[in-house]
Structure formats: C-alpha cells, structure tokens
C-alpha cells in the first residue's frame, strides 16, 4: 500500500467507535434507535487521471480511463450519540470497464474508447459522521470523514485489449487505502424509516500492471471517485 492516510485518523475513528460501542446503552436516548441499515444505489463517477501506459512497444499518448458505473449500495449506521454516527458503506462491486484513451488505433487495433479490461471494484468505507441538527428534525444534514479501502478482483483483459497488448495478458491493480469525505441529507419518514441522499469523494491510487508474454506495461492511475447515493433506511 503506497498511499496511506495519516495514521492518526483511523486510530481516532477506532477509538471513537470503540468508545461508543462499549458505552452503556443507558447513555443514549431511549427513543432513538441505535442501528440503521440502508439500501439504495450508488452512481460512481471515477474521475481518472493516469500517467499513461509505459512499457515496451507502446506508442506515445496511450492512456486509460474508467467507465462510470452504478451499483446497489448497502450501509450500516451505528448511532454514537446525538451528534455522531459511524457508517460502514459499501456497494455491490461493480464490473468496472477500463477504457483506452489516446489514438483511435494502435497500429490497426481500435483503441480510443474501447473497453480493454474489466475488473470488479470492492471499496468499503468507514465514516464518522457529524449531524448538524436535532435528531427530532425531519431533515438531518450531516458531513463525514473516513477511510476507504479499495481492491480489485475478477480482472480480465478483453479480446480487444489482448489485441492491443499483443496476446493473452495478465492484469493486476494494487489495492489502495485513502481518505473519504461525504455530505448527506437524511429525511425522516417515520420513526423507523428514512430517506438518505449523500455525495462522497474519495481518493484511490493504484498501480496497473499488464503483462503480455514476459513484457510488462505499467500505468499509475489516480481515481477521485465521487459517489452519489440515494437510499432508503430502516432504524432498529
């Protein structure tokens, strides 16, 4: 893991969460449920910047992008007190398409805009969230900060990707830990039910390695994924 967030942040989150989980239940208001779950949809906008693909037999100006994705969202929220919650959020790992960016063709192989690889993207986040208004308010805006862990699996190079790379290829992407921030708005429908909208930004750095025969091509990619979540929640 090349890119680490300041070590104090996860430690503070763990301390806060641990302190809350271990605190006597009598410390919280009896009429506010301690746990919530949410189900909804993520719309993910990846915002990729890349160093470009480096390696043998690669023409200049060849780079990568990711196709934006939508995927079901799940969240578990633990109330710490009247001002703070902890949220564990994740989506069903979307099958993310890596798109070629650069010349229309590499040699005679179509490149720009072509899906050259796919990978599933597992990216759970833990956030400490601050609520601005009273818990009795219908509208409850909040902000949060936390940590995102991203790993990739089911990595596949498409047929056109193999054509561009020059043969059967192995794709690897390093996992990433990075900060995540969110702003959200919760709308209380009933005692147990609410609607939630949030917008999150995180940072993911990954080193991509594409190996074809024994030739390795690499690219450093920086994602600034932004996720719009619309969800329904149930408190218990």
């Amino acid at each position: 893991m090349k890119k680490m967030i300041p070590s104090t942040l996860p430690a503070a989150l763990v301390a806060l969460a641990a302190g809350s989980f271990c605190a006597p239940t009598a410390a919280r208001a009896d009429d506010v449920p301690a746990n919530s779950i949410r189900v909804g949809m993520y719309a993910i906008f990846y915002h990729v910047t890349s160093s470009g693909i480096q390696g043998q037999y690669i023409p200049p100006g060849v780079s990568l992008d990711l196709k934006d994705a939508q995927t079901p969202y799940f969240g578990y929220i633990r109330r710490l007190n009247s001002k703070f919650d902890v949220e564990l959020a994740f989506g069903v790992p979307p099958n993310t398409k890596t798109i070629g960016r650069g010349p229309a063709t590499v040699g005679s192989v179509p490149f720009n805009g072509q899906t050259i690889a796919t990978a599933k993207w597992l990216a759970p986040s833990v956030l400490l969230e601050y609520k601005f208004l009273s818990e009795s308010s219908k509208f409850q805006p909040y902000i949060g900060v936390g940590v995102n862990y991203t790993s990739f699996y089911d990595r596949k190079v498409t047929a056109i990707g193999q054509q561009g790379a020059g043969g059967p290829s192995r794709l690897s992407l390093t996992s990433s830990v990075g900060p995540v921030g969110t702003v959200g708005l919760k709308y209380q429908l009933a005692t147990h039910w609410h609607l939630n909208v949030s917008y999150s930004i995180s940072r993911v750095d990954s080193d991509i390695k594409l190996q074809t025969a024994d030739v390795v091509r690499t690219a450093k990619v920086h994602f600034g994924p932004q996720a719009l979540v619309v969800a329904a929640g149930y408190a218990f």
Binding site: Y57, S108, G166, G167, R170, V215
Partner: protein, 534 residues
Amino acid sequence: MKRFRSALGAMASAIVLAACGGSNTDTAPTNDSTVHGTLVENPPLRIASVDAAAFQAQLASTASGQQLLQLTGNPSCGVDFYYLKFYTLGAANETTESSGALMVPTGAAGSCSGPRPIVLYAHGTQTLQTINIADITNSANTEGALIAAMFAAQGFIVVAPNYAGYDISTLGYHPFLDAAQQSGEMMDILTAARAGLPKTFAASTTDSGQLLITGYSEGGHVAMATLRAMQAAGAKVTAAAPMSGPYALEAFGDAIFFGNVNLGSTAFAPLLTTSYQHAYNNIYSATTDVYSSTYAAGIDKLLPSATPIDALFQSGKLPQTALFDSTTPVVPGSAALTALLAVPSDPNNPQTPLFDLGFGNPYLVNNDYRVSYAVDAASNPDGALANPPLAGAPLAAKAPTQTLRNAFYLNDMRNGNWAPMAPTLLCGGDQDPTVFFSLNTEVMASFWSAEVSAGLIMVLDVGATPAGPFAAVQAGFQTSQAQLLAFYESAAGGSLPPAQAAQQLVEGYHTNVAPFCSLAARAFFTTVLQGPQP
C-alpha cells in the same frame, strides 16, 4: 449489541468472499522445455499490427520509407509483427535463449491469408547488441522495415532471427559466421515459428510448406549455410537467394590478410575471433596473440555491444579502419611474401585508396599474427587466389594449420562437398567494398559452374550492364547510385567535392545494394513459386 455484531460479521464475510472469489486472465503459457527449437511463449507476443493502408502511410511518412515503397510497391497486405523467443544452441552447444521476428501477412486479399510461403531471412552484421528485428516500432530497425515491406506486406510469412548473442540472448558472444551454429539457429527459429503461427491472431494465415531462404551480408552466408544444412537434413527448401555474403571465407580472408582490407574489417575482426574462439577454442591463448597491445584488452567481449560502434571508435576501443600496421612486417626469409604484405600502392587499381584505409598506427591486428596467417596462406593457397587460379576455385588443398585460417576453411561454403539442389539466386554488387563480390559470389559461381550452366543457380550483379530477367533491378540500382552521388554533391547533401562524394558513395555501397537484391530475391521467389512445385 448482538445483532450489531452479526450484521457486521455478515458484511465482513461478504467482503472477504468477494475478494477471494475472483479470477484473472493470464499470459501465454511458458514452455518448460529448453530443447532447441522450442518456442518459449506460445502464442508469441505481437508487437504491432498494421493493415496495408496504415503500413503504407507509415512508410510514406519518411523520405527513406518513400524510397523503399518505390522499390517494394505499395503493401497489398497488413502485417502482424510477432516477437519470437526460442531456445537454440551456441557455438559450443550451450543452450541459450534467442529471439527474432515472425511477420504474418493479414487482410482480406487472397494473397494475404490462407496457405502462404515462408521467407526465412538472415540479417546483416549488427554491432549493436540490442537489435530486435521484430520491433517495427523502432525507427532504427531499417532491415526489419525492409523485409516487412518487401516480403510480408506482399503475402510472404517472414521468419528472421536476431541471432544468439543479441537482444535477450545471454550467450555473451555472437557465433559470427559460424555455419553450423547459425544454420542450426535458423532451423530452430523456423521450428518455433511454425509452432507459434497457428496460435497467433492471424491464424487464418497458414504455412503452405514452401520455404524460401534468404539473407544479406552476414545473413547471406547464414542463408547459404542454412540451405546446405536443410538439404543435409532432408528438409524441403523451395528456393534460396543468399545476398552479398562472405561465402568463400578462406579466399576472402586470405585477400584481406594480403592487404585487400575491406570496409568494416575492424568490427568484423573481433566478431570473428571471438566467435571462433568459442567454437574451436584454438584461436588464441590470450587476445594479445592476435591483437596489438593498444586494443587487445577486453576485445574478446567488445562486440556485439550496447554501445554504438561510433562511440567505440571514439573511445579508442577499436580503430575505425586501421586493421594492419602501416609499417610492413618482414617475413623472415621471404622477400616475396614481405612484398605481398606491403600497403597496396597500385595506381591502376581503383580500390587502392580503399585498401589503404586499412593500414595505420595504432592498428588492430599485430604483425606476428598477420605474418603467421600469410605464411600459411602462401604455403597452402586457396584455389581462387593461387597463381594461376585453379579451375573451379577450390578450397586450399589441405586444411590450414593457422587456426583462424582453418576456421575460415571450415566455414567456407565450398566446404562440405555440396551444391544447391533448389533454385538459387546469388545477388550482389561488383563494387562492394565490404564483402567483395568477385571473391565470394563469383568464386561460388565458379565452384558451382555446373549448376550455374544448368540454370539451377543464377548470379546477379546489380552493378553490371542491365540485361536479362533482372535488368530493371540493375537499372534501378545504378540510377539510385547516380542520384545519390548527385545528392552528395548538392547543397542538400553537403556540397561535397566529387572525390569525397564518391568516397561517401563507396562507404554506403554495401548497404545500398541490399534493397535491390531483396527485390530481385522476391521476383526470383515469385517466379519459382509460379513454376512446377515438387
């Protein structure tokens, strides 16, 4: 609290399962066998793929590419460039990895897919160790571009090794003009390419079984040695076209040691002695046995080099042209032989200025070594250089005792009691200052005079008066030379005085012949393929 822990545990389990449940596409399988002829990775890596229009546009984007297109014609096929890595044997039968190119024609035209003939091509001498003839993305790979445009883009599958000692090969030396090793490597890459071809992206292009062998300069010798080796092995060869090769190595070597020093000799010498030392282990006990003290240190590991040859000259690792001492060595008891070692001074020989470039101080080969070679050559002359020359230009009557001359004898293409059984074209240029046409191509033509008379072997001198089936090639070459001379004398070419312009032309002659002989080879192959096939 219990419910919370259950929910968190379920999520964590889901995450872990998701992370572990994936799969990944993989690279081509690597072959565990290191038996020579084995392709290391199959399918091999495709470095580039261009269709006919893109290849034409790519060539047309440079002046040299435009000239090449004028010769080759516009591509009728696309070309896929594959990088072959295969196992072969070194000069001492060491297993080593080597590499090369497989160029596969592609496209809808009938001449671009289906069963296609293979051109097995051997490249010319390279001093740069990093050469990769498959890498068409490298603009310095002019020979790769030539054979791609000349053959692959016209529907021939091309197979060409980089040679052991180059590129990825860790052999540590190059078996230069080692007939047994280089012909073996040619057959190994052919075996590897035939294994890889069906697994390429262009699997609809298949091997027709027709095999055409060619190569230029060093590769001309390699091509001829490969023809001999394949015939001996009973393998099918459809036709061959060795070009500008040092075939008659003994005669060629004798002429050089007697003062007819060729251009490039100071690079060829260390390649030769290193190669034959590895093959026969008798060329020297120490490099000072052969080389002057100025250059002996490290010369056995000098070439091929990752450093460009010009930089080696500038850093004093090699003299640019001075192969021999400008002070004539004395051969004890033989004034006649001493005279034969003098710096050439015949004013009536137009090549005298060229030969004289081979003498100087500091010089590469020490005098004692030169004398030992000359004594052997004088006492046991090559038939082509005997006075008078012997009919059929045979090798020396017996194996030489001087070890380098014996290595030349062993690798001379007159050795082995053989002649081509497939139609063969020997192409070159009569003014070649690097590989002398008369001492190589014409010597082989004399040696195989029966096959020449029967029409099985054709000899083409691109510098001769245009006539016969290759008249257009000859005329084209001569026009090209005249244009080049005019260019050197023009402002764009540096406004060289006539003598310097002519010298410039001489220095480029060997290289300039290559595309014209390749064009002749293609025409020859096409004619053979159109004729009755066994």
